[in-house]
């Protein structure tokens, strides 16, 4: 057996196949009994292992948590305030230094910086400007040290209860941040000061989880952006931050370089004011999408932003298959197309986008390329056609390159709007005919297309004997002749064609 088949079988059992790979395997399994047997038996093993897993329980009276508490309590512990590194050893200086080098420390520096700014601004403490002052910051006023000089920020006497912050404040790293002037610069930014005076923001900024996730440099950069400051004052944004603050991936994303890169885009800022979009931002799959550079780039596009403000479009993103579709580079190009963007606002189309068959189709480059054609976009607005796209047989047909090519022509699009033709397209026999290159080529003949508008001819096309006749190349050739087409236009001739003996005669 080919190694590709083996790999497909294994990946299918482990749920690692893409939908295309699953379809490929499905086709293989239908025709390859050896592969089919291997797949079924491996699947059976997998299912049995699942049952076994469910049978395995912890032994009675097993309580690892209580045992753990007992072990740790009994050990001579000296904890570092920031972590449980020791269980039975004395705290050592070298480990303390490790903490100060750790990424956790960077967060704490950021946290302390923000907290100080918030307290500093919200307390409305008089600030001696333009002159060197000596400030003290401490856990206890008695312990205050004459440490920070020449900075406005340290002119305030701030009492912090959290000893961890205290460690930060007395560190060289924090001093460097203060001395760089960045914090002071922010504190002099009126927009930032106004923002920080907002009680909702103050409350938000005091959330330790949020503070710990903000990195100092990114925050400082973001806080300089008027658009970000404005955005942060939006009630919907504050609400979002409040509810999503515990979601690490979300907060990391919000303060990431990528988001910082689009924050100055008016479109994005407007989008963030939309309750529907804000709600969407809480979905982890959408978070992942936004973390992608190409998607962020897309969000700068005005047409896309307009689209993203539409509730029916936004609802699409609640489906994981759509989110994964949106990651496709082809779709990205399509989304920049204004007429397609317009289409995506159409409820009928967004409804279609929820259909698995259509999503599969959208993953095919040839179809995406078709969708760039104005004709196709026009067609997609048509309720009959949208209905047709839900038919598995038609979706299959849409994968045929010849048919996709045909669909680019205006006459095909017109035809597709005819209810009679749409009805015909639902007939499996006709769909199979459409796969024949000769017939597709015939469809390019305008005279033949006009025939397809005739209800009696359409009715004829439903006859298996006639469809079978249409498969013969000599008959297709005949259909190209205008005289024959004229003949075909007569209802009496259609009757004749329905007769079996005529079909037999023609095939001879």
């Amino acid at each position: 057996m080919e190694s590709r088949i083996k790999n497909l079988i294994q990946a299918e059992i482990d749920g690692e196949n893409t939908s295309q790979e699953s379809e490929e395997l499905e086709r293989i399994l239908k025709t390859n009994p050896e592969a089919n047997a291997l797949f079924k038996q491996m699947l059976s093993i997998s299912n049995r292992l699942e049952q076994i897993k469910a049978d395995i329980k912890l032994p009675e009276n097993t309580d690892f948590a209580s045992q753990f508490e007992k072990n740790v309590t009994n050990a001579p512990v000296t904890y570092l305030k920031t972590g449980p590194k020791q269980t039975n050893e004395e705290y050592t200086m070298s480990e303390s230094n490790n903490f100060f080098k750790s990424s956790t420390f960077a967060w704490v520096v950021a946290a302390a910086s923000i907290l100080i700014l918030v307290l500093y601004i919200s307390a409305d403490i008089p600030q001696p400007a333009q002159e060197q002052v000596v400030g003290t910051i401490g856990v206890d006023r008695i312990e205050r040290a004459e440490r920070y000089r020449a900075t406005q920020i340290t002119s305030a006497d701030i009492i912090l209860d959290n000893e961890q912050y205290q460690q930060v404040l007395q560190s060289d790293q924090f001093q460097r941040l203060v001395e760089s002037g960045e914090l002071q610069e922010l504190a002099q930014n009126q927009s930032f000061v106004n923002l920080m005076r907002d009680p909702s923001i103050q409350e938000l900024m005091r959330n330790e989880q949020m503070i710990s996730l903000i990195s100092d440099t990114k925050l400082v950069e973001l806080m300089r952006e008027p658009a970000f400051l404005q955005l942060m004052r939006e009630p919907s944004m504050i609400e979002l931050m409040r509810t999503a603050v515990d979601d690490r991936s979300f907060t990391e994303l919000m303060f990431s370089d990528r988001v910082a890169g689009i924050i100055d885009s008016p479109g994005f800022t407007n989008l963030m004011r939309e309750p529907g979009f804000i709600s969407l931002m809480r979905e982890s799959s959408v978070n992942e999408l936004i973390a992608q550079e190409s998607f962020v780039e897309l969000m700068r596009n005005e047409a896309f932003v307009r689209l993203a403000r539409d509730a029916s479009f936004v609802s699409l993103f609640h489906t994981s298959s759509n989110v994964s579709l949106m990651r496709s580079a082809d779709i990205e190009v399509l989304e920049r197309n204004a007429s397609f963007a317009e289409l995506m606002r159409d409820p009928a189309f967004t409804q279609l986008m929820r259909h698995e068959g259509f999503i599969r189709l959208m993953r095919e480059s040839s179809f995406v390329s078709l969708m760039r054609s104005p004709f196709a976009v026009e067609l997609m607005r048509d309720a009959f056609f949208v209905e047709l796209l839900r038919e598995p047989a038609f979706v299959q047909l849409m994968r045929e390159p010849g048919f996709v090519e045909l669909m680019r022509s205006s006459f095909a699009v017109e035809l597709m709007r005819e209810p009679a033709f749409i009805a015909l397209m639902r007939e499996p026999a006709f769909v199979s005919l459409m796969r024949e290159q000769a017939f597709v080529s015939l469809m390019r003949e305008s005279a033949f297309v006009s025939l397809l508008r005739e209800p009696s001819f359409v009715s004829l096309m439903r006859e298996p004997t006639f469809v079978s006749l249409m498969r013969t190349s000599s008959f297709v050739e005949l259909m190209r002749e205008s005289a024959f087409i004229q003949l075909m236009n007569s209802a009496g001739f259609h009757e004749l064609m329905r007769e079996n003996r005529f079909a037999t005669l023609r095939s001879q």
């Binding site: 482990d14 049978d55 097993t62 690892f64 948590a65 753990f68 972590g83 750790s102 710990s212 690490r248």
Partner: protein
């Protein structure tokens, strides 16, 4: 437990919150025990390994990198502890509980006869194969996660998993009753 809740508990634990750490223990004790049991093949030894493992996790919490999944890190510690334990106890392979018998520690927990037979087949596989089957099927870890835990590349995980499945298939389906436990 969702990811954000887990992260919060990890962070609280890093700050010395034992209660938070106990919540993490309660969440992960069964999968960790199941993994250890599969490797060391003895219920008491498995309990010791898990207990020591959690203690080690607590001690090493500050070295945990939150960019990676917490449970992957946990599995790694438990798997290493288990492998060290069988080395110290002069056992050469996961699952096998002595040379003469093909008893599997899960066996007494499993009810259906056919499943017992499957476990029996699993027991007969070399340790590097059975361990991957266990991490994939019992713990539902991805190829990537298994590769990270065992410190091997993903291709090796895939090929060993495939070989293990083929061996299981041969013994379970094709040799039929040969190994059936009476």
């Amino acid at each position: 437990m969702d990811k954000s809740e887990e992260l919060e508990l990890v962070m609280l634990s890093q700050q010395g919150d034992k209660e938070a750490f106990c919540k993490l223990i309660n969440c992960y004790q069964l999968p960790m025990y199941r993994t250890a049991l599969g490797i060391v093949g003895d219920t008491e030894l498995a309990k010791d390994v898990v207990q020591d493992g959690f203690l080690k996790v607590w001690e090493e919490l500050n070295s945990y990198d939150p960019r990676y999944k917490f449970y992957s890190w946990l599995y790694k510690i438990i798997v290493n502890k288990s492998l060290n334990s069988i080395r110290n106890n002069n056992r050469s392979e996961p699952f096998t509980d002595g040379e003469s018998t093909l008893q599997n520690p899960y066996q007494e927990l499993v009810r259906e006869e056919e499943n017992v037979r499957l476990l029996h087949v699993l027991s007969s596989l070399p340790g590097e194969y059975s361990l991957i089957v266990l991490l994939r099927h019992f713990e539902e870890l991805s190829y990537k996660e298994i590769a990270g835990i065992l410190e091997i590349d993903e291709k090796t995980v895939k090929s060993r998993l495939y070989s293990a499945r083929v061996k299981i298939r041969e013994q379970f389906f094709l040799q039929g009753d040969k190994h059936k436990i009476s």
